[in-house]
Symmetry: C2
Subunit: 165 residues, 2 copies
DNA sequence: CGCTCCTTTCAGAAATTTGTGAAGTTAAGG
DNA sequence: CCTTAACTTCACAAATTTCTGAAAGGAGCG
């Protein structure tokens, strides 16, 4: 069955999950190294790993870790911490923070909306194409609102089911 | 101001929008040709274009059109129609259908969920990592439901604001 | 039936992306 | 200060992706 908690974990099982889940993320558009690094963090016991641990576990160079982590931090999927009294850096996946990041497709949506607004203006709001773009724009604006509300509901749901993390 | 409807449209304005919007789609992970083709359809007056029109407008080969369209049809962002009494094919962006497609990240979400479930099992539901994966899984399941409900609300909202398309 | 117009497939050239090794940078600790 | 541990940056080689031209396929029309 499953390992009793507190026991060393089966590195092979971990690796299998990491690679499998990372593959799904890649398919969804994430770059490979960020995907693998993120999956490794998700599957770690503390949700925290150092550069060295990541490099060793994933068999990648420090340079690759650096690049992946920079990207992940930029899109808020992990946070970086300086381990006090050491030059080591640690990377953490906060339970919630990364859901927020997922919905931080907001930033992307905003740019879509801008492009659409520009299109409505330059093609003419009174043209068929303009009207189509306007409706598309309305959809995204609707989604914006709804996603915000949805995340509220999630937080409530989560607290009820898992307690305050 | 804008062109009166019924007048030939400014091809340059159209192109500017198409390339700009396509660039956003690319940034969000779509391949370039599908993105450009889709944007061109969105910006067309009837929401329908033939292969030849697409090729000419976007300055790409028939092969490129073929590939892009195949992809877009597969993910339900456009539908293909045979123009009756002709070998020409026409590609259409249905107002609603493509929102559905967007949420058809469902297919993707399902696979994420599968990978996570597998992870919970193989790492052990009683381990810290297992619990983290479980919570992530719960989030996606929650999102599934919510998105379905959201689309319902959108349809109502849309009907009210734009009338039945 | 065969011709013709359109679309699709395929192999390959070109461009882009990816990951590495090695040099460079910063800061802790003696 | 000097050493050393760690992370970052950079240039390049390798792998992958992308798009094209050319040939093949198939449906309408005579």
């Amino acid at each position: 069955m499953a390992e009793p908690s507190g026991t060393a974990r089966d590195p092979e099982a971990v690796s299998r999950f990491v690679e499998h889940f990372a593959a799904q993320l890649v398919e969804a558009g994430l770059q490979r190294m960020p995907a693998r690094v993120f999956a490794a963090l998700l599957a770690s016991d503390k949700g925290v790993l150092t550069s060295a641990e990541l490099g060793e576990q994933l068999k990648i160079s420090p340079a690759a870790v650096s690049g992946a982590v920079r990207y992940l931090a930029q899109v808020r999927m992990v946070s970086r911490e300086r381990e006090p009294g050491s030059r080591r850096e640690r990377y953490r996946v906060h339970g919630d923070q990364w859901y927020e990041a997922l919905t931080n497709r907001e930033a992307i949506l905003k740019r879509w909306e801008d492009a659409l607004r520009e299109g409505v203006t330059s093609l003419g709001a009174d043209t068929p194409a303009g009207r189509r773009l306007e409706e598309t724009l309305a959809f995204f604006e609707f989604v914006d609102q709804e996603v915000a509300a949805m995340m509220e509901r999630w937080r409530a749901h989560r607290e009820q089911r898992f307690g305050r993390g």
